[in-house]
Amino acid sequence: MGTLYEDIVAYGGEVFGEEHMETLRECVQCGKCTGGCPSGRNTALRTRKLFQMALLDLREEIFNAPELWFCSTCFTCYERCPKGVKTTDIIRIIRNLAAKEGHMSVPHRMIGVYVLKTGHAVPIGPDQMKLREAVGLESQPPTTQHPKNKEQLEQVRTIFRTTNYDAMIDFDWETMNLRGMKKGGKK
């Protein structure tokens, strides 16, 4: 584990390329990101401050702040930053690092449970099957949740196993649910 900046460049670099992540260093603290942030109007999220904290290596403070999760990834700041800081991608990578260290709420982990069970973050239920029939569609779409497509669903599960996502959310393959939760929803 290096500094937070180094980790952002290393981990995010694998996906976006290192130069993309290194734009964080270009931040001049002008605050234009915060000025247009729809979250900042309503929550404690201050994008400018978050980046300064990241550069100051305040890892625990960032990872433990609930507002880290109040960015909707709207990309407004990303498009407006005068220094070309790849803001939203940096925020997503900071969240990836936080999640890897166990900072992930139960509702967020549950989304993974739905995907592991059905292949869908928002699966279908009997009521929705009726809605489909009401508009003249097949009651079940031919996706991973369809009983005919078990093999395809298994492929999605294999991905989650290969990348250890199941372990990250503490998924129990026996019960197909989260393993015992500790206080505050943290692992």
Binding site: F70, I111, A121, V122, T162
Partner: protein
């Protein structure tokens, strides 16, 4: 073959919210496309895209192979993709973009897919349904089919975020002065009305809705108030996930904030569908939270 028969076939990536919560979006889109000779083939065995702000926020290395697996299904079909959700667009187009830009990432991703005999090749293209309407079918052809003009209807356009941004991936020009939805609304004879913070996010994305639903609804409430204050009769948008937040969100915010919202929310093809003479039942507008006023149905 009539003049309107485009003779095209696309792979439809359904995603989650469209087929599992708002099948009216699926039905209206398929019906309109069929009118113009665009055939829809569903992507059998596709999964969640997976949600870009959500899975992208938790683990990019899981998000990417799941998206690549979905892309590989369309590649096998030999077809380009269309989507009806900005989340699906966000994920699939971004994944396609990254995998094409970074050969090493493609190699790494294919190692995961190879475990079950799949491969991402980079041979499909991800299209948004509203771009097919605007650029492939085109405004002239659409205009000819408007049988119930929306002449006295004031519309608030809502883009959602991942249709326009990031520009370097989406490629639809300016994210501050867009025109595609505006054109589609105007072709029906409706008036597109400028309102405060028109380009503001609905609040749902990035796991924000899941992190704190009531807080996320406050963004939505502001958005709706701005549209209502500008005299709009309804909101038209291109995203199934926004639809969930904007439509079902009104019931949730009425409960959480003690408000009394019932502001009509329509996906672009639902709005066009009504103007082309489809019934509200055919567009699934009578099986959602917000109800349609006479003005939109006459």
């Amino acid at each position: 073959m009539t003049d309107d028969d485009l003779g095209l076939t696309y792979a439809y990536f359904l995603g989650c919210i469209t087929p599992n919560r708002y099948p009216g979006i699926e039905a209206a889109t398929k019906r309109i496309f069929k009118e113009f000779g665009i055939e829809t083939k569903e992507m059998v065995g596709a999964s969640c895209c997976p949600a870009p702000g959500v899975f992208g926020s938790f683990d990019m290395h899981t998000w990417l192979p799941v998206a690549a697996r979905n892309l590989s299904i369309a590649e096998e079909m030999g077809l380009e993709i269309y989507v009806t959700c900005n989340g699906c667009y966000g994920s699939l187009q971004e994944a396609d973009h990254l995998l094409k830009e970074h050969p090493k990432l493609k190699e790494r991703t294919n190692k995961v897919l190879n475990e079950f005999g799949r491969e991402y090749k980079g041979t499909t293209k991800v299209n948004h349904s509203i771009v097919i309407l605007h650029d492939i079918i085109g405004l002239d052809k659409l205009k000819e089919r408007i049988t119930k003009p929306m002449n006295d209807v004031n519309v608030a356009v809502h883009y959602g975020c991942h249709f326009l941004k990031p520009r370097e991936v989406r490629g639809h020009g300016s994210s501050e002065t867009p025109y595609i939805l505006e054109d589609l609304v105007k072709v029906t004879g409706a008036k597109e009305v400028e309102y405060k913070d028109k380009l503001m996010c609905c609040g749902a994305g990035g796991g924000n809705r899941t992190a704190d639903t009531v807080q996320s609804l406050e963004w939505t409430r502001q958005k709706l108030v701005n549209a209502i204050m500008a005299g709009c009769d309804c909101m038209v948008h291109p995203c199934a996930f926004c639809h969930l937040q904007l439509d079902r969100g009104q019931a949730e915010m009425n409960k959480a904030f003690g408000t009394n919202f019932n502001f009509p929310i329509l996906y672009a093809t639902q709005f066009l569908g009504l103007a082309m003479g489809l019934s509200q039942t055919e567009c699934g507008l009578d099986i959602q939270t917000t109800t349609m006023p006479e003005k939109l149905l006459k």
